[in-house]
Amino acid sequence: MEEIICPHCGKPNSPSNKFCDYCLGQLKQSDEQISEAEHSEIGIGRDDLSEQTPEEYGPDWLKNLQEEHSVKGEEPIDLGDGLSTPSEMISDWMSGDEEESLTTEAGESPPGEGSQVQPFLPHDGFPEDDGLPDWLDDALLDRSEQDGFEADSRVDPAIEGSEQDALQKDPDATKPSQGKLGELESAGPLAGLKGALSPEPGITRPRKPAAYTTKLRVTATQRAHVDLLASIVEDEGHTKPLPERKAISQRHVLRWVITIILLIAISWPIVTSSQQMPFPAYEEVSAEVSRLVSQLNGNSPVLFVFDYEPGLTAEFDAATTPVMDHVISRGALLTLVSISPSGPILAERFMGLMQASHEYKSGEQYVNLGYIPGGAAGLVSFFDNPQNTLPYTLDGVPAWETSTNKGLPPLTGINEITDYEMVVLLVDDPDTARTWIEQLSPRINEPDVLTSFVLITSAQLEPIVLPYYDSSPPQVNGLVAGLRGGAVYAQINGNGDIARKYWDAFGMGTFTAALLILVGGLGYYVIPELMRSPQVQRKGK
């Protein structure tokens, strides 16, 4: 009995076997499979050809023609076996010579299907390109693309002819990956197995991915904007070296020159103890304070509020000293408070300063109640109930009169803010000043209240608080602003040693500063104009 050698593993098998007993590889390939493989080479299956009617398979013009005939009631064009159509409308190769059934490239006609095969396909493969009509060419091309093949996979007729000869000799040659039969797989999930089928060429040759351009389709303006944005983003990633700073630049020199001039101007009167400049003229706003202080009786309770920063001590010393001196000379009893943490120590320092001319003792003529916490809410609490808000002095001594405590003299009879005859606020901050004015002025502007409210402020605050004084009715009864205000007050009441000591230096400094601003302004605008070349000036004209 003749054995069949397995083309995959090379081992002998029984002739009745279709598959190898050893490697399960296919031993024979049926004719049908061969024919199928041949058709797949050109991208069209035999079944497809046999199942399609001529109406479906033919060109559009042929379909249209057939439809026209059917609409007009004429005899339809028979594109099948009984092909009947005007000869002038159908090519010669579609005529009766082609009525034979379609044969496969292998030269064998499938049994029983010959009559259904399209009559216009040639017997021996496809004719030369010249003989194939365009519509068929396109149809074949489309179908091959639909099946996943590239258009380039169409076989060249010359090559195809030789392959057909080979197929006729050996039908098994149509099997895919025939050359690798029996080889041992070296990689992948099938590694170690013999005769594994390799993928078919149609699958392993995927269509090339469509090539899409990566370039932006934009206008020139958009391109310019894109470039600009890209340059900005790119620049962000780069660190730019800082320009080298000169050790001594023009700005430094200018700063030193101004400082030296100003220092000389203010130092000269201080060194020589010059007191020649006259005090400023009378000002109503400061004189009003003097009038109110003059109305104080002996033992009148006066509240002093110290709410300025230590850096402005010199200015407040000059402005407050004449006022405080005047108040103390009237024999008033003082209460000192603050809503800034540094206020209590500034108050103590200032009272120490006044001890040189007055013997005012803590706890007897004045009392320092310290810091009022809570901002505006704390102020409201202090105005309504000072005993509970600040029960102790800065030294920790109980300040108010109780059943067990006698209380300090300056606080005798004080139950609310309107029990004070005068409230003097020393302030340099606009917000603090506004808080005090807003909380206090509505209480003291009542008809039956006699409390007066005066401010001693830094010069920088004068423009902000002046409207409260100028308003009608006034929310603030008097104002002493800065060194100038202190000098005015000292001129009215005397005792302005500090203001007198500073006044000449202040006058010289102000005059020098005004001169520097004038010269600097002229230099800024005039010098560049003079530095311009005559040509540029002429062009400008």
Partner: protein, 229 residues
């Protein structure tokens, strides 16, 4: 001048020179002086908080025999303890109660003060300038007061007009009203410039007085040292 005064004056003199060293630019000596001032200020504020607030209000009531004071002192202690829970994100919600109480009271005080202490009185004051009945003395100062009132009125309206940032419906063509508004706004710009000039002059005067105070201190210290030798 005793020994402590000498030490204090010497420290003040050295620190003044350290601050003046800023003339040659930012340097370690200047920074040392600034950090010292900040540290001293913070330390003093802490001392004030302890001796002026915490001890007298939270601790002292429990040394008194008054039962009511002791009970009332529990309220700030409890609220303060609840406020401390803000440190932990997990229990921070507990601190919302004292925080909301603080914010509510502060806002009420601030808003009420702003309305009753600034807004209404200042509006009344601007109106009363033109009220002849409010003038206590009828003399030549009435005319001056009227002129003053007109200037204030023009300044107020012009400044408000300057801060008008309206836009035409079309965005291109100005209406006649807007042209007027821009013209008035330019007048307001003059008022604003004068105000800024006034503010600058005040700030300069304050700074100049502070400088004079320091220079006076330095000169007097040097004079006293020279007298010593």
């Amino acid at each position: 001048m005793n020994l402590f005064d000498w030490i204090g004056a010497s420290l003040g003199f050295i620190l003044t020179l350290l601050v003046f060293s800023y003339l040659i630019g930012d340097n370690p000596l200047f920074r040392f002086a600034i950090h010292l001032f900040i540290g001293v200020s913070a330390g003093f504020a802490a001392i004030i908080a302890v001796y002026n607030i915490l001890l007298p209000r939270l601790v002292a009531p429990y040394f008194s025999s008054n039962r009511t004071e002791q009970l009332l002192a529990l309220v700030p202690i409890i609220l303060g303890a609840l406020m401390l829970t803000k440190i932990s994100p997990r229990f921070a919600f507990i601190g919302t109660l004292p925080m909301s109480y603080l914010v509510g009271v502060s806002a009420a005080a601030a808003i009420g003060g702003a309305v009753l202490g600034t807004l209404i009185p200042q509006v009344n004051a601007s109106i009363n300038i033109f009220d002849a009945r409010s003038a206590q003395v009828f003399d030549a100062s009435i005319g001056l007061r009227l002129v003053n009132g007109v200037i204030i009125l023009i300044g107020t309206i012009a400044t408000l007009a300057y801060f008008h940032f309206g836009k035409t419906r079309s965005g291109i063509q100005k209406t006649q009203f807007q042209a007027w508004l821009e013209g008035i706004g330019q007048v307001g710009q003059i008022f604003i410039a004068i105000t800024f000039g006034f503010l600058f002059a005040g700030i300069f005067n304050a700074a100049l007085t502070a400088l004079i105070g320091r220079v006076t201190f330095v000169v007097e210290f040097v004079k006293s040292v020279l007298q010593f030798f």
